[in-house]
Subunit: 363 residues, 2 copies
């Protein structure tokens, strides 16, 4: 009765968990290697620091005594500017503690035991986890071998209530054709959520579809292009009735005060975004060409990472050999992905080192 049952098995309290949660695999925190001199190209972080406006904000303008007060629950100033930048109103934007928070809200609003999710394969692995937490079926539809959308997609996702798709896709790095995406929005009988985490690197957005289709949600994050993974800010755009209902699911004060201010300062510095995004694209193209010349199969990327299969088509071996040289990339075992590694675009210096190492291994 009165015991410290602190080992993971046999706790008498586990029977109170929802059984589908108990049955799920445990959470494994992402790798946070602390090796000196490591080149970390495994989590699609931006190699450049955030805008100088973030330094000024934190070091000069922000008054820490304000932290005693609750933050604006709906981040109105920020959401207003985000909406206006694409011709939408504040009522069309919801702020999240990273776009993970936005995705969680959407899955909780639209999915349950009777309301399946659909996504493609391969794609961002979080979607199947979020479906599991809602005890919702997750219908995964294979992409074509060139990672484009299959002809019969609509037919295959017919039973789903929510279709979630990153554009550009991760980990495959490619951009889906906008005409095809719009056709899905127009025809699918359910919510289409377009996860634009990497859209700033593609020069393309589906934000314009929000005005046209009442069933479309477009989500964005500041973690990648704005170099603010540590600050946690993401948002979604949709017509007001969907935003209004997603708000019901939101934790009251989900975006802290510092992040609201940091994100707004970053968003206003459009020149810095343009500059760092250009640098990353330039480095991406250079790395892609070099890897191709070494015999890698490099997928056409519209993101801040490459999806590349080494000459021997052994992704696991490639990731291990790079790790021996203190370069960490991401490897996804399994069907369609096992031949590849996913390489985040680093600085030109990091990229030069990576190229030299790849030459040594595969040259």
């Amino acid at each position: 009765m009165s015991t410290f049952e602190n080992s993971l098995e046999n706790s008498s309290a586990l029977k109170y968990l929802r059984p589908e949660i108990l049955a799920m695999a445990g959470y494994t925190p992402g790798e946070q290697p602390k090796i000196q001199g490591l080149i970390k190209l495994n989590t699609n972080e931006n190699p450049y620091p955030p805008s100088p406006a973030v330094y000024k904000l934190l070091k000069e303008d922000f008054d820490p005594s304000l932290l005693k007060l609750y933050p604006d629950p709906v981040a109105s100033e920020l959401c207003k500017e985000l909406g206006e930048s694409v011709g939408l109103g504040v009522e069309n934007v919801i702020a999240g503690n990273g776009s993970d928070d936005i995705l969680t809200m959407a899955f909780r609003c639209f999915c349950d035991k009777d309301r399946p999710v659909a996504c493609v394969y391969p794609t961002y692995s979080l979607y199947t986890v979020l479906a599991g937490l809602q005890n919702a079926e997750c219908i995964q539809v294979d992409l074509n071998s060139d990672f484009s959308l299959p002809e019969n997609l609509l037919e295959k996702i017919e039973k789903a209530n929510l279709f979630v798709i990153p554009n550009p896709n991760a980990p495959t790095s490619n951009l889906f054709d906008s005409k095809t995406l719009e056709k899905i929005c127009a025809s699918f009988k359910g919510i289409v959520m377009i996860d634009e985490a990497y859209a700033d690197f593609s020069g393309q957005t589906s934000a314009n579809l929000v005005k046209k289709y009442p069933n479309v949600i477009v989500s964005r994050t500041f973690s990648k292009s704005y170099s603010l993974a540590g600050a946690r800010f993401g948002y979604a755009m949709a017509q007001a009735p969907l935003i209004y209902n997603m708000m019901k699911m939101k934790d009251s004060y989900n975006v802290n005060m510092m992040t609201q201010k940091v994100a707004l300062a970053s968003f206003r510095d459009k020149e810095y975004l343009r500059k760092t995004v250009s640098l990353i694209i330039e480095t991406r193209e250079k790395l892609g060409a070099e890897l191709s010349s070494l015999g890698f199969k490099v997928e056409k990327s519209s993101a801040n990472f490459l999806f590349a299969a080494p000459p021997d088509r052994d992704g696991a071996r490639c990731a291990n050999l790079l790790r021996d040289e203190k370069i960490i990339v991401r490897y996804f075992p399994g069907r369609m992905t096992g031949e590849y590694v996913r390489i985040t675009i680093g600085t030109p210096e990091q990229t030069a080192t990576l190229i030299a190492v790849c030459r040594k291994i595969y040259g």
Copy 2:
């Protein structure tokens, strides 16, 4: 088909929402009045700024370039110190984006259509909302008229899978008897979640119950006693099997990097906490005595607020009259609470103004 259905009614996409969410009342952001010279005593914020260690951290020590990286997903350094301070390990602590995030995780782990929640009445109103979002029944059991726990509580909550109780309770401000709470933990067939948002003002904690009972979760927040409502940090303590499973529900990077550092710096400044909490308790006792002498019925408070019924026992009128004098307090209409107002403890200066105004109205 292709339309901007941006008014809240009649969107063709609303049919894709889980019906129980669609049926829920819309989210109303908390009042953020912007009147000059207002005395804001309505949201239990701390009147004192955060520890000077927070200023030093943000203005001197913190390097904003780190924001390009993801934060520690489990806030290990912080959780380790929080656990150690009460004789627990890092495996017994989970970090949250405010304790709202912690409560959301618990409700999602332990409640659904077949797993009811129980709480007392009156209590923190978020609990019934969170139950609704899970489509879970919420069994509310009336407190005695002195706001103590009813004799037959265990019997009445028998059907529930999760029993959540703030201690001290909000908005009633009183502390529940620790022997009675422990009896509930020992006898209740389900999870007991003790929400200690205000515990630093009571000098009492149930953290010791975590070691004794595998079904107990104790949650804490930095929003009140640490003056960090704007930073969003809360945490829960429980035996490892419950923490391990709650982690499955957590957004991967739920606590941003700045907040992890700010919370740790605050937590280490124990002298500042002691000093500001003492000041608030001193002011609380003085205000309580003054209001009593004016004919208010003042509940014995163990929190950073008072629950007080004015001489005419008309809480709504009291809140309105105070508002006319630029003082905002919280009024909860309805059974058992309608006679009262909830008054956050402010600075001695704010309190002197409040007392003068109350004298004018009721003296």
